[in-house]
Symmetry: C2
Subunit: 198 residues, 2 copies
């Protein structure tokens, strides 16, 4: 009687998921317990393994359980084009919406000196090393269109220009102030195709 009933614990634990309030957490808990225990056990196993084993790609910093992610490890991808995005969700959005066959650099944030997020926190030392070594011919800046996203793009653009690397910025159609992951595929694909010199 000391600990809360397991059902209450489960409802509470489900609320770590985004967009899940008390009512939907309760509905989820009852649904899996009454109708899909195998699914619940599979989710429990995968969730634990993912939370323990998934880290960041040594090359591009996206989420992966491998040392080098499948995209960076794929010899069929074009290493001469690197697309800079803010989050792993942006990588998935571009992969799902566009025919992009280059590689990525994932910032895992935006420049924000006041919060202690400088070039090193965004892995820009590593990006600079890739620009120097890999014969990169184009750097696509696909950071968000927020002020911080623009400042970050500007900073990286300057860095690339100093190394003589052509820089483009995705443009048409991405709504102002929004994150890439919420843009529909058509708009994102269009913005990708319509990128221009930066």
């Amino acid at each position: 009687m000391a600990a809360a009933p397991l059902l209450d614990q489960l409802v509470e634990a489900l609320r770590c998921l985004p967009g899940v309030g008390p009512k939907s957490a309760q509905r989820m808990a009852l649904h899996v317990l009454e109708r899909d225990r195998p699914g619940a056990l599979r989710l429990a196993g995968v969730l634990q393994e993912a939370a323990q084993r998934i880290g960041h790609c040594r090359v591009c910093r996206t989420l992966t359980e491998a040392e080098v992610c499948p995209i960076c490890a794929d010899p069929g991808r074009d290493g001469r084009v690197i697309c800079v995005v803010e989050t792993p969700a942006d990588v998935l959005a571009i992969e799902q919406a566009t025919g992009f066959r280059g590689r990525y650099h994932v910032l895992l944030g935006q420049l924000s000196p006041l919060d202690g997020i400088g070039p090193e926190e965004l892995g820009l030392d590593r990006l600079e090393a890739r620009l120097a070594q890999e014969g990169v011919g184009e750097l696509i800046l696909a950071t968000g269109t927020t002020v911080e996203g623009e400042v970050t793009a500007h900073y990286i653009g300057e860095m690339a220009r100093e190394r003589g690397v052509r820089t483009t910025r995705i443009a048409h159609g991405v709504p102002l102030g929004g994150g890439l992951e919420y843009v529909d595929r058509g708009t994102l694909s269009h913005a990708f195709e319509g990128r221009r010199e930066y």
Copy 2:
């Protein structure tokens, strides 16, 4: 490279939750991995334990990891009133919406002879034994207002009448054709208070 990447497995596994499509599964997976790994590990642990250990109360058949659920085990509850509901979700809805201090019988379904769901599958033998032993003075029929719910209520009402137990049916305000768990608290509370002889 043989197995799908863990992130893909996680997105897929999250879809066992009701109302979670591919897009929200992806958002959930990325959210917990980027921002709440402790929450993900806690959820994994509780989910596994719940799926393995939660069964049905020996007395009322609601979901619980104990042999007898906290409501049935609570000496402060009034054993002379039993409320018959279809699902554990209905128990939670009534507990959260009303001041009911009696006990429950959870059918875990509705009478449906064509699907092989008869009185025994609904635990009515056990309910009948409780009516005989516990000095029950009122049986509240809170099954849904669907045709099957009404048929089930009618059957149980007859059973109670044969034993001379007073039977009531929750009434006012519960919309026709809906499950109890989707009714707002006020409506449900009102329907509960406004129950009448059945």
